[in-house]
Symmetry: C3
Subunit: 337 residues, 3 copies
């Protein structure tokens, strides 16, 4: 996905040559090709640089659209033809470090407080004293921004939104009628860690957050921006307090997530799904359309459309309840003998 | 319960006629009767309008004190006599939408920062630069308000309270010696969702939060205001970080709730109860006086006074521990065979 | 441990005589000995006053280095010789109440906003409008402080740190390259409660937080200061959103803790340990070097180095998975019969 320049400062004109030089690799031809994006190996498009780190033979799974791929010498020959190989020893770490140098998130910062000169605030919008609106941000008709809220550079907020006290928004696009209660955090870096020679290092998070119309998010919940893709929450989805939505998650329409709901990175949640309190979903899992999770469910597998699951690890709720009942019965039997 | 005008703006003089007109119903007589409140069906008093949506025959369970009840035509004949029926197709949705029009929460907002002219701050109270105190709020003797805290319209705070940095308080009454650590959120809308024709809609939350003397609440915890009733936390109750107290919850005195405790809507927790870390309680559950929950317990049923429960779904702790031990033993037996 | 005067105001010169008088005890000699610290019974050093409350014979476990110990008359004779006994009826409560009078945390407060005259901010550091830096705080070279962040009295922040919007820091020392996302809370009072005659009382929390170089902490996470000791997070440890680190916890280097991780008081977590989402650890537990916890694990026992555990109560993951599979099989058997 191309890096969005509203949210990230791009250090110079980035070409395949830039990447090759920084990765310490050799590049034959194409060095002046502009590459404006980064991506996961499987989703990379024609202007994206990705990395591959895994069993060499699996290199064939790298998108054949990718402009280039950081890769070990063992795996390089397995990449699809047409994808430029940039050979290096630790592709994931190298990709992260180069991204950190080339793309810097624009900081949420204010010299003078209030509305920056380069922000566009509709004349009917109300911005409380103490709120900060950074350059390039836009606030739509009738939207209200509460005291102390911070609206980062380039953030776009639609019409008739209600942004509560102390909300932080960065790297995000919001539709109309979005309601964020106090202390909501939108668009901070997701949790990505790679092992380096001296210990753990943060992986740059270069995506965005998109909140569609009529989304409501409860107090102190957090929605991380995507790593390479976007984190997206669909129309009329309602999220309770103290929930966490990880990077690259895609949530459909009219989903309800009760307090302490946790959606790990790259999950998808179908339209109309309902998550009880403290339901958690492991990364890359798909929750089907209209599916339900019982309170406290811990989900590690895809859930088909319309099913109700519970327990940890979650399974169909009826099955789980039968297990719970059966175990209880065995104990009572033993006691009564 | 009557709507508290310190926290909610009431749109004009609300009468039974107003409701009837907005619900699209027909009303014979009584149209000019003032109705200042709203309530759940079972608790409605003589000036409250409630709704009923369920099996028609259960309409008899609506409070016979209610001024009026939004109800389907099938259920109308089952309401207690004396309760005015306002017939409509989707009573819950209609009630929510009318509430949203008639009663608006007064926004936490500040034109000029600092202490609003209509706020009453005791001369010995200390209000940090950067805090916002809205009109109608009152701050008692010796109370300290930290930087960036926002005290909404009409909020009453007692004596010798300590309100930390970035705390948000709205729609709430606080006693004396209340201590709120940084980032606590008091009085935002609880999580109420109703299905509408275009998807999920928020249900207006029209109650308050009451924190009694010597309540302490840890960093980034959230206490939602009631839907129709109040959310109440009793004297000397101590709540750790990142806890969530849902709407209409009633907590007794000297209760201890460790980190990540989650109390769903309309629960009651008896005096002196102790909840271990990450204990969760499903909605409408009663936890008895002096009861204890083990860390991680997920409670779906009432717990009698003085008992200790654990596990998910929670049961008496000894029973749960026996089950855990028994299952472990079966596995070890099979391995050794 | 000595009380750190950068963070706590000490009420006069505290001597053994002060303690004896406040505890209502009798003291023979040594009354003018300065005692600058407090400690848990087992760790007390030569200038610390501790308390002991337990089986009288266990009084022998009190550190023989302690300057003095609040103790019941029954247990006094069991203390190590050389430790001054201060006899009182409820040692823990008395200790807490005396601490509350002698040592007061310096409040995070600002008369005029911005940088206090007694703060030291490096000329290359960037402090956003709306941030508050209290007296005695120091901000290192190239560090950036976001809008609305509050840096309490005496807090020391190293070089090239990134402190996000609305972060609160008190009673803490930060190394270099520390990154705190929006809404992180560092250094508030931990959760300590003691029963008093009128109900629960807060126990003063007199320690600090130490964050070493390259620590990253996600949005809305909380790290409490120690009770008597420090809470310490080691180099390059990476913590996700909405995590809670309790008082006195010691976390090693390059530890990864995913969202909703909860570490109760006085735990230790070894270098390189990895905690999945929603993993929780009960108090005083030791997680070994390089150990892993599955998502949702609830740990009540020490975990040896390098092992992977899961479930609640947690056990070795393979064992837990076998149990889960076996129970599922019993149910399927019964269904098919």
């Amino acid at each position: 996905m191309p890096i969005d320049p509203r949210f990230f400062a791009i250090q110079g004109a980035v070409t395949l040559g830039t990447w090759a030089e920084m990765a310490g690799g050799v590049l034959s031809g194409k060095a002046d090709k502009q590459v404006t994006g980064v991506a996961a190996a499987g989703q990379a498009g024609p202007s994206d640089v990705c990395y591959f780190e895994g069993r060499p033979a699996d290199g064939a799974q790298v998108s054949d659209q990718a402009a280039a791929c950081l890769v070990t010498s063992e795996a390089a020959s397995h990449l699809p033809s047409g994808v430029v190989s940039l050979i290096c020893e630790r592709p994931k770490l190298t990709h992260a470090r180069i991204c950190a140098k080339l793309f810097r998130v624009k900081p949420v910062f204010s010299e003078s407080g209030g509305i920056a000169p380069g922000a566009a605030v509709h004349k009917t919008a109300e911005v409380s004293h103490g709120a900060v609106i950074c350059d390039g941000a836009a606030i739509g008709e009738g939207t209200r921004i509460g005291p102390g809220a911070t609206i980062g550079p380039g953030v776009q907020i639609g019409r008739k939104c209600q942004i509560g006290s102390h909300v932080s928004i960065a790297c995000a696009l919001l539709g109309d009628h979005v309601k964020l209660e106090a202390g909501v955090r939108i668009g901070q870096a997701g949790f990505g860690v790679v092992a380096g020679p001296e210990g753990a290092e943060d992986i740059p998070q270069l995506g965005r957050v998109i909140l569609q119309d009529h989304v409501t998010i409860g107090a102190n919940s957090t929605v991380d921006r995507g790593a390479f893709e976007d984190t997206i929450i669909g129309e009329r989805t309602k999220i309770d307090n103290l929930c966490h939505i990880g990077h690259n998650v895609i949530i459909g329409r009219s989903v309800a997530i009760a307090a302490f709901g946790g959606i790990s990175g790259s999950c998808s949640i179908g339209d109309g799904a309902r998550l009880g309190g403290r339901a958690g979903v492991a990364d890359h899992v798909r929750i089907g359309v209209g599916a339900s999770l019982a309170a406290g469910a811990g989900v590690f597998r895809d859930i088909p459309d319309g099913e109700t699951w519970g327990g940890t690890p979650a399974k169909p709720l009826r099955e789980y309840m039968r297990e719970v009942a059966w175990v209880g019965k065995q104990i009572r039997k033993r006691k009564s003998q």
